[in-house]
Amino acid sequence: MSMIYGLASMAKESIKQIHQLDASTHNVANINTPGFKAERVFFPEGTTGGSASETAIVRNPSFRIDYSPGLVQQTGNHLDVALRGEGFFAVETKNGNAYTRNGSFTVTPDGELITQSGDYVLGASGRIIITGRDVHIDERGTVRVDGDSVGTLRIVEFENPDMLSNLGNGLLGDPGNSAGLADKEDPEVHSGCIELSNVQAIQAMVDMIKIHRSFETYQKVMQTLQEQEKLSTTRIGKV
C-alpha cells in the first residue's frame, strides 16, 4: 500500500513539473511580446508530509505574475507609449475594464484611441478621441491634438496586484474588484517608446533545466519503486 502511495505521490510531483513547464514555455513564447509580464507557477510547501491525503500535494497550485519592468525600445511612433515604474493603462473591453502595460496604441476611423486588439484606451473621463493633424502624448499622459488637450490617459495601480488575472491579449483583469484599484499619482509616460517583454531567456532556460531534471528524478524514483514492487512480489513469493 505504501509503495502505491509512493508511486502516486511521485506521479503528482511529475504533473506539477508539467504545469511548471507549460508556464515556462508560455513565457518563452512571449519573449518578444510588448508589455508582457512573465508568470510563475508555484506550489506551496508543507502539504506533503504528515497527512496521507494524496490530493494535498497538488491541491493549491498558485501562479504569480512577475511585474518587474521590461526594457524600453524606441519606435518613434506618436501613439506608442511606455509607462515608467508601476502601473497600468486602463482600457475598456467588451467584458468590462481591463489593464495593460502594452502601450502600442492606434485609432479607429472615428479617431477613438484603441489598443492593437481593438479595446478602447480610457482617459480620466472616458474614451479619448483624436481628430486633427498632430498628436502628441506628454510625460504626464496628456494627449494633445494640435496642442490642445483631449484627455489624459488613465493610469492606475493596484494595492495587491497578485489578485489580478491574465485575460490574454496583453490584458489583466480584476474580476473580483479585490486588487485595490487606485489612480496612479504623478505617472510618468514616455511617448515614442514601447515596453518589451520582461521574460529573461537565462531564467527561462534555467527553469527548463530544473524542471527537466526534477521530472527525470521523479521518473527514476517511480521506476525504482516499480522494480522493488516486482522484487517483493516475485522473491517473497519464492521463500
Binding site: H26, A29, N60, V135, S165, G168, G176, A201
Partner: protein, 260 residues
C-alpha cells in the same frame, strides 16, 4: 499531452514571422524612402486551473489561483516612420521630406502616399515617380526649362536659360494622425486605412508638415546594426522555444518509458 509542445510551437511561429519582417527590412536597406516594420505580438488566452478567491474543499479561500497561458499570437506589423538619412544628388527632381508628411501619388482610382521623392518628367512634361505615376497636385515642366528650383516650402519655379519664369506652383503634402496605421502596397507606396485616419493635406513647412529639400533623397530608415541585433535576438528566441519543445518531448519519452 504536455501543452508546452503547442505553446512552444506558437512561439516558434511568432519568431518566424519576426524574422520575415526583419529580412524584409534588411532587403530594403537601400530602398529610397523605405520605412522599416516591426512585428507586434500578444499573449494568447489563459487556461484557468483554479480561480483567485475560489473556495477550496475545506472551505478556505484560495488567495491566488492558477492560470497558465497558451502561448503567443502575431497581432500586427507596424511601420516605423522615423527619419531616414539623406543623400545628396545632382538631380533637380530628387526631393527629400524633412519632418512629417508624404508626397501624394495619383493611382488613377485613388491617391497613394510615399516618402520616396525621386521624380522624373514623363513625355508630356508631368512630374511622376519612377513608376510613371503622377504627383498630386500635378507639376508640369515646360520643355524649354533649363533651371528648375524648389524651395523648402514647396514652391517650384521652372525657368529658361535667361532666368525667365516659364511656370511655377506649389507642392502639397499629406499627413496622417497615425501614420503607423498605413498599409504598404509595395513599390514604396502606402494606402490610407481606417487605422491611419484620413489624409490631411497642406503646404510643406505649414501645419506640422515637414519641409522639402531639393537635390536630396531620403534613404531607408533601416539601421543594419539594429536589424542584426533583432535578428540575433529573434534567432535565440526561436532556439529557446525549440528547447522547450525538446524538454517537453523528453519528458513525454520518460513517461512512455515508465512501463517496461
Amino acid at each position: 499531452m504536455i501543452r508546452a509542445l503547442w505553446t512552444a510551437a506558437t512561439g516558434m511561429e511568432a519568431q518566424q514571422i519576426n524574422q520575415d519582417v526583419i529580412a524584409n527590412n534588411l532587403a530594403n536597406i537601400n530602398t529610397i524612402g523605405f520605412k522599416k516594420s516591426r512585428a507586434d505580438f500578444q499573449d494568447l488566452m489563459y487556461q484557468i486551473y483554479s480561480k483567485t478567491g475560489a473556495e477550496t474543499s475545506e472551505g478556505n479561500q484560495l488567495p491566488i489561483g492558477m492560470e497558465i497561458g497558451m502561448g503567443v499570437k502575431p497581432m500586427a506589423t507596424q511601420k516605423l516612420f522615423t527619419q531616414g538619412d539623406y543623400q545628396q544628388t545632382e538631380n533637380d527632381f530628387d526631393w527629400a521630406i524633412e519632418g512629417e508628411g508624404f508626397f501624394q501619388i495619383d493611382m488613377g482610382d485613388r491617391t497613394a502616399y510615399t516618402r520616396a521623392g525621386s521624380f522624373r518628367i514623363d513625355k508630356n512634361g508631368y512630374l511622376c515617380n519612377t513608376e510613371g505615376l503622377k504627383l498630386i497636385p500635378e507639376v508640369t515642366v515646360p520643355e524649354e526649362t533649363v533651371h528648375f528650383t524648389l524651395d523648402k516650402g514647396g514652391t517650384w519655379t521652372a525657368a529658361d536659360e535667361l532666368g525667365n519664369t516659364l511656370a511655377s506652383g506649389r507642392v502639397e503634402m499629406a499627413k496622417f494622425i497615425n501614420p503607423a496605421g498605413l498599409t504598404s502596397i509595395g513599390r514604396n507606396l502606402y494606402d490610407a486605412t481606417e487605422g491611419s485616419g484620413d489624409a490631411v493635406t497642406g503646404y510643406p513647412g505649414e501645419d506640422g508638415l515637414g519641409t522639402i529639400s531639393q537635390h536630396f533623397l531620403e534613404m531607408s530608415n533601416v539601421n543594419v546594426v539594429d536589424e542584426m541585433v533583432k535578428m540575433i535576438v529573434g534567432q535565440r528566441a526561436y532556439e529557446i522555444n525549440s528547447k522547450a519543445i525538446q524538454t517537453a518531448d523528453n519528458m513525454l519519452q520518460m513517461i512512455n518509458n515508465l512501463k517496461r
